[in-house]
């Protein structure tokens, strides 16, 4: 019976990719969150909401706190102030077993895949199934092959992570992240370091898998064009705060200096090209006199 269901689901996968589940109920709410490492404030009173079924991008320059936001949502770090809610549960107040129960409904794609290097592609994808379910090995095999097929790497099941290209590793990590059909997918810089073909493939997979699984996705990135093509909504983070938000169309049309600089990729603007330094002339002349 179980195998029959899997076969039916496998047959439906291509058609599943064609519908979208969109709801306005928030799955993730970040309520006035402040986070600091030691004395250094990373996030300062952030508020944002991720609706169910949507793909939402969080954009901003390097070191602005985007990845920290993902870590807060995943409960890997706790905020100094405020609350992070996922599916109605306050993540920062959960005990470890409650947090682990919630994480079973989450998937995360790390920047460089974070595949287990001592396991094959197949075992990487099977990892969560073996850890969290009592499924027989034959069924795990079918499920793993389905997940790998969905990312186009069924034929690479026997390879080791060291034998994969960057784009392939990212796709295997994606297959591993969706192994237990999560309700929330988080992507940490999914486009970083990829060639244009892999970049397009990953972008389309994020969108299609989100819609097929009826999941909600958060994409942390600074890759503007690729992410604007696949997301429903965008938040811009700068200096630990949300400085702009909107749909991709609104973002493209925005005249706000920060957004304009970011979208156009201009070297100077509200985000300065030069790291703060004393006057250039003084530095040169002063250095010579000294």
């Amino acid at each position: 019976m179980g195998c029959f269901k899997i076969v039916v689901l496998a047959q439906r996968l291509p058609t599943l990719f064609s519908f979208r589940t969109v709801s306005s109920d928030p799955l993730v709410e970040i309520d006035n969150v402040t986070f600091a490492y030691d004395q250094r404030t990373i996030l300062n009173g952030i508020n944002l909401s991720i609706p169910k079924g949507k793909v939402v991008a969080i954009m901003g320059g390097s070191g602005c706190g985007k990845t920290t936001l993902l870590r807060l949502i995943g409960g890997q770090v706790r905020p100094s102030k405020g609350a992070v809610r996922v599916a109605g549960q306050v993540v920062n107040e959960l005990k470890q077993d409650e947090l682990y129960a919630l994480r079973r409904k989450m998937g995360m794609l790390f920047q460089f895949g974070a595949l287990f290097t001592d396991m094959s592609v197949f075992d990487n994808v099977a990892f969560q199934m073996r850890e969290h379910t009592d499924l027989p090995e034959s069924m795990i095999r079918d499920l793993v092959l389905m997940k790998l097929h969905a990312v186009g790497l069924r034929g690479a099941a026997h390879l080791l992570p060291s034998e994969l290209s960057g784009g392939m590793a990212r796709r295997v990590a994606l297959a591993r992240a969706i192994a237990l059909d999560p309700m929330l997918m988080m992507y940490d810089e999914p486009f970083a370091g990829l060639d244009p073909i892999s970049l397009g493939v990953i972008g389309q997979l994020i969108r299609r898998l989100n819609d097929a699984l009826g999941a909600t996705s958060i994409v942390v990135t600074h890759d503007v064009m690729e992410s604007l093509a696949i997301v429903d909504y965008v938040y811009f983070v700068s200096a630990g705060s949300i400085v702009a938000e909107g749909t991709p169309e609104q973002i493209r049309a925005s005249e706000m200096p920060f957004v304009h600089q970011f979208v156009k990729g201009e070297p100077d603007g509200p985000v300065p090209f030069h790291y703060p330094a004393p006057d250039y002339r003084d530095a040169l002349v002063g250095g010579r006199n000294a």
């Binding site: 995943g74 890997q76 682990y100 129960a101 994480r103 079973r104 989450m106 998937g107 995360m108 790390f110 920047q111 460089f112 974070a114 595949l115 287990f116 290097t117 990892f127 969560q128 850890e131 969290h132």
Partner: protein, 264 residues
């Protein structure tokens, strides 16, 4: 002058406080390992796999070192004993030196440099490449899944390796003393059998090697887990594992020896 002295005292204080803090973290880490050891025993296959990597793959260096240490003991022991007309006691000297001291201590030092450093580097690299974070995000506790099996594999492997080191050492002593120099074979074995006490000598050696196994394994997994997730961080952690483990073995050996053999 006062300023210079003050800065020195302050620096020494900072080093001591830092060392104490790390010792505290290590103690809490050990507690966490013990509390999460269920996986290592429930799914013993994970621990067996680590025993292969830490124990079986250390066999070559342990056996070869044991053989040579035993051969050197045979040569040096014979040279000293024959001056007093006691060369027949060579077997006793070789075996007691090995089971009481050299087996656990040299075995432990070799284990720290071969297996301890490998454990630290592996866990440190898993941290640097976000594999541990990925595991946490998959609701799998890395202390239970990664650290626990490696820790227990070290604790189980160490006494076995020390025993094999001692056995090979005795064999090396036999080869040099009996086969090459010509000490009487019967005296070699019978005096050894008569003088080596199971409870006082062999078991004390086993206890030492278990304690060294716990110390080296704890230091190795702690340094790996606590390593900065960078190339320098992992390299520094690996070095610290070897240095700290070696010092811990030597220090613990003195303390254990003082307790075990004070009445003899």
């Amino acid at each position: 002058m006062l300023d210079w002295g003050g800065r020195r005292i302050s620096a020494i204080g900072a080093v001591l406080v830092n060392a104490l803090m790390r010792a505290g973290f290590a103690a809490r880490f050990l507690l966490a390992i013990l509390l999460n050891s269920g996986t290592a025993f429930r799914r013993f296959g994970l621990t067996i796999r680590e025993i292969y990597f830490t124990g079986v793959l250390s066999l070559i260096i342990i056996l070869v070192s044991g053989l040579f240490v035993g051969m050197v003991l045979g040569l040096q022991g014979y040279d000293t004993l024959q001056r007093f007309g006691a060369s027949e006691a060579l077997g006793v000297l070789v075996s007691l030196s090995l089971v009481r001291e050299l087996g656990p201590v040299v075995g432990g030092l070799l284990f720290a440099s071969r297996a301890g450093s490998a454990i630290t580097a592996e866990i440190g690299l898993m941290k640097a490449t976000e594999q541990l974070s990925a595991m946490e995000m998959m609701a799998v506790n890395p202390i239970a899944r990664v650290v626990g099996p490696r820790f227990w594999a070290g604790v189980i492997s160490m006494p076995l390796l020390a025993a094999m080191f001692s056995a090979m050492g005795v064999l090396g002593g036999y080869v040099v003393g009996v086969l090459l120099i010509g000490v009487d074979s019967g005296s070699f074995w019978s005096q050894m059998q008569a003088s080596v006490d199971f409870a006082n000598d062999i078991m004390n050696g086993v206890i030492k090697s278990i304690v060294f196994g716990i110390a080296v394994s704890l230091i190795a997994v702690f340094e790996g887990y606590d390593a900065d997730p960078t190339a320098e961080g992992v390299s520094g952690a690996t070095t610290r594992t070897v240095v700290t483990s070696s010092l811990a073995i030597l220090g613990l050996d003195f303390i254990l020896t003082a307790f075990m053999f004070r009445g003899l």
